[in-house]
């Protein structure tokens, strides 16, 4: 039995357990849809439901055939390649531009700081469908629709706000006198930036980059509008898969994506802890 403070009445204790129950229910609500697809993806039958054999834990009712199908299907393989190529390329662009923007915006001499910040962060706030429609009409003029560069640029624009936010957060803990000290020791501003600023804001840069990557990886609206058949990404493939050939391959893909997201999340957390240990700010 848990020991409560002596002044606790029955209502306090009921509140204590009530809050725990509520928090647990919220957790179930959030996690169950994600967790339930994992066993389903090992379904031996082409159904989205638990078969009797699965419920009886019969080993024959489980198989990895949908993972095999996923790996063998050229459409899926193209989608995987596209998702990673576009994700990594757009994350690199977003990280570079976002970091530079955040550094510039953190300078005390930057004019119109609020306006520029709002503009740069707008892709996060403006509905995706509007961005997608706008970009579609804009891209047609430059023949960018249905091309890799077009999609990479579009996804980079979506990723920039995340990088700006994470890097700005790290920079707010950055002591400007370190930069001044670097200059006073004789280093050129660019050298101080590489030797002192970048190493100290690296956790923010990396986590911003990961966010940008995930944003691109996860994105389907812009892909629907801007991508041709050759630029089909995983979410796009899942989307058409859901409509055309319903089978648990999608669940296998989803499970793999959940594992990938979890891995990214752990990476972020490890980075944060490391930066705290190094005496920097999170």
């Amino acid at each position: 039995m848990k020991r409560f403070p002596a002044y606790y009445t029955f209502r306090h204790i009921a509140g204590h357990y009530g809050l725990r129950l509520f928090a647990f229910l919220v957790l179930i609500f959030l996690m169950l849809p994600i967790l339930v697809i994992m066993p389903l993806s090992f379904n031996a039958e082409p159904f989205f439901t638990f078969t009797d054999g699965m419920l009886a834990l019969d080993p024959d009712a489980y198989s990895t055939r949908w993972y095999q199908e996923f790996a063998d299907d050229p459409n899926w393989r193209l989608a995987i390649w596209n998702s990673f190529a576009i994700g990594i390329a757009s994350a690199l662009i977003a990280t570079t531009l976002g970091t530079l923007a955040a550094v510039g915006l953190s300078s005390p001499w930057m004019p119109y700081k609020r306006l520029i910040t709002a503009l740069l962060l707008s892709p996060m706030i403006v509905p995706l469908i509007i961005i997608a429609a706008g970009m579609f009409f804009f891209y047609t003029r430059f023949n960018l629709v249905g091309t890799y560069p077009g999609l990479i640029i579009a996804h980079a624009a979506l990723g920039v706000p995340f990088v700006i936010i994470t890097v700005t957060a790290t920079l707010s803990g950055f002591d400007r006198s370190l930069f001044i000290a670097g200059l006073s020791l004789g280093a050129r501003p660019v050298k101080v930036f590489w030797d002192v600023v970048i190493p100290l804001i690296r956790p923010g840069v990396i986590s911003g980059g990961l966010f940008a990557f995930v944003t691109s990886f996860d994105e389907v609206v812009l892909v629907l509008f801007l991508a041709g058949p050759e630029q089909r990404t995983i979410p796009r493939q899942m989307f058409s898969g859901l409509r055309e050939q319903i089978n648990p391959t999608i669940l296998a893909v989803a499970t793999l994506l959940v594992v990938l997201s979890a891995a990214l999340l752990f990476t972020l957390e490890a980075l944060r802890r490391r930066s705290v240990r190094m005496g920097g700010s999170g």
Partner: protein, 364 residues
């Protein structure tokens, strides 16, 4: 360019600074610094002393006027080309580098050969007595150790001068005294020129060759510590440096440098400050340790009758608070020996002092 005397190492020539094009933060700063001097800029916060330092280092632009080192104007030189070492209040050590890497940084930037860098880092670590700490990160050092590393890093590239911006402000009292000693020792040993900014007057008095007292963007007085303490030129300096009592009065007559002052408690004789005129309202400043309570064998020219208020036991001395006839406090410091008398509440007492120990300033 003006021809400067060969002994003038650093010259500020009518340097002014404004941030908003309306108010001057620094209003015409002039100063000549000799090679190897330890100069302190002292003043309350917001008095413009840090701005002067930042203009010298190149992190603030000069609105008008000129700063020259060895006869060459530096106002158009980039901060990283000025070859000026800087020590910051918050140390500003690079947290991701070890102590040795921090020290090596200015040398790597100057592309010195590796073995030479290694030897120089070892030499300077030894100089600040941190030889065994080279592989630690700044986060693993105490405040005093960090500031010694910061000092070594500012000296290691043999800069033309070293600026210190309240370097001991973040340390506790004991460490501060140790570090004052440390800085003075290094300054004597290596002979570099220091411009030191602080708002702590004891620090300024105990370390400097000369002190420039700032107030409101203007240097009130620039003089060696003893002169500043004994012969302040105005009431601000008298009040800011050390403790001081002010007795209000009116100048009745003026003979040379001696003034007769009529106060509520009777006539006084005092040194006349610059600009004092007969008939003017004035304030006679007198240091608490120059006042004596009878019985005493000390000679005296002035006597003031006051009423006892409080006696505070400080340890090495005793502070008395008396009330002057006009009701303001007057403080007396007496060494804690057997002669420090006790008074009953509100008892009348006499305070005695020499005319040469007090100065009459025009009342502002």
């Amino acid at each position: 360019m003006k021809d400067l005397g060969s002994d003038v190492f650093l010259r500020f020539d009518n340097v002014k600074k404004t941030y908003d094009q309306k108010n001057l933060v620094v209003k015409g700063f002039d100063m000549d610094v000799q090679d190897g001097e330890f100069i302190t800029l002292l003043g309350p916060s917001g008095s413009g002393k840090t701005t002067v330092l930042m203009m010298l280092a190149g992190f603030e632009s000069v609105t008008s006027g000129d700063i020259a080192i060895a006869g060459k104007s530096i106002t158009r030189t980039a901060p990283n080309k000025r070859n000026i070492g800087m020590v910051f209040q918050n140390y500003a050590l690079f947290p991701h580098m070890t102590v040795a890497e921090n020290l090596a940084y200015p040398l790597t930037v100057r592309k010195l050969p590796k073995p030479q860098i290694k030897a120089r880092v070892a030499e300077y670590l030894d100089l600040v007595e941190l030889s065994s700490f080279g592989n630690r990160r700044p986060g693993q050092l105490s405040g005093g150790q960090r500031q010694r590393v910061a000092l070594a890093r500012a000296m290691i590239f043999e800069p033309t001068l070293i600026l210190m911006d309240e370097p001991l402000g973040a340390l506790d009292k004991n460490l501060r005294e140790q570090m004052q000693f440390e800085i003075t020792r290094l300054h004597k040993k290596l002979g570099f020129t220091v411009i030191y900014v602080t708002h702590d007057q004891t620090e300024a008095l105990s370390m400097s060759d000369r002190i420039a007292v700032f107030n409101d963007g203007v240097v009130q007085q620039c003089a060696p510590p003893s002169e500043l303490y004994e012969r302040p030129v105005n009431a601000f300096v008298a009040d800011f440096i050390g403790e001081n009592n002010f007795v209000p009065g009116r100048v009745t007559s003026l003979q040379g440098s001696t003034a007769q002052v009529q106060t509520e408690g009777g006539p006084l004789v005092a040194q006349a400050a610059e600009g004092l005129v007969q008939g003017q309202a004035c304030r006679v400043s007198i240091r608490p340790e120059k006042l004596f309570i009878p019985p005493t064998s000390h000679a005296h020219d002035n006597a003031l009758t006051v009423r006892f208020n409080t006696r505070i036991y400080v340890g090495d001395f005793i502070r008395y608070y008396f009330k002057m006839p006009d009701g303001t406090d007057i403080i007396v410091k007496v060494l804690n020996d057997l002669s420090a008398p006790e008074f009953a509440d509100n008892a009348e007492a006499q305070l005695l002092w020499l005319a040469s120990d007090c100065i009459a300033f025009p009342a502002s």
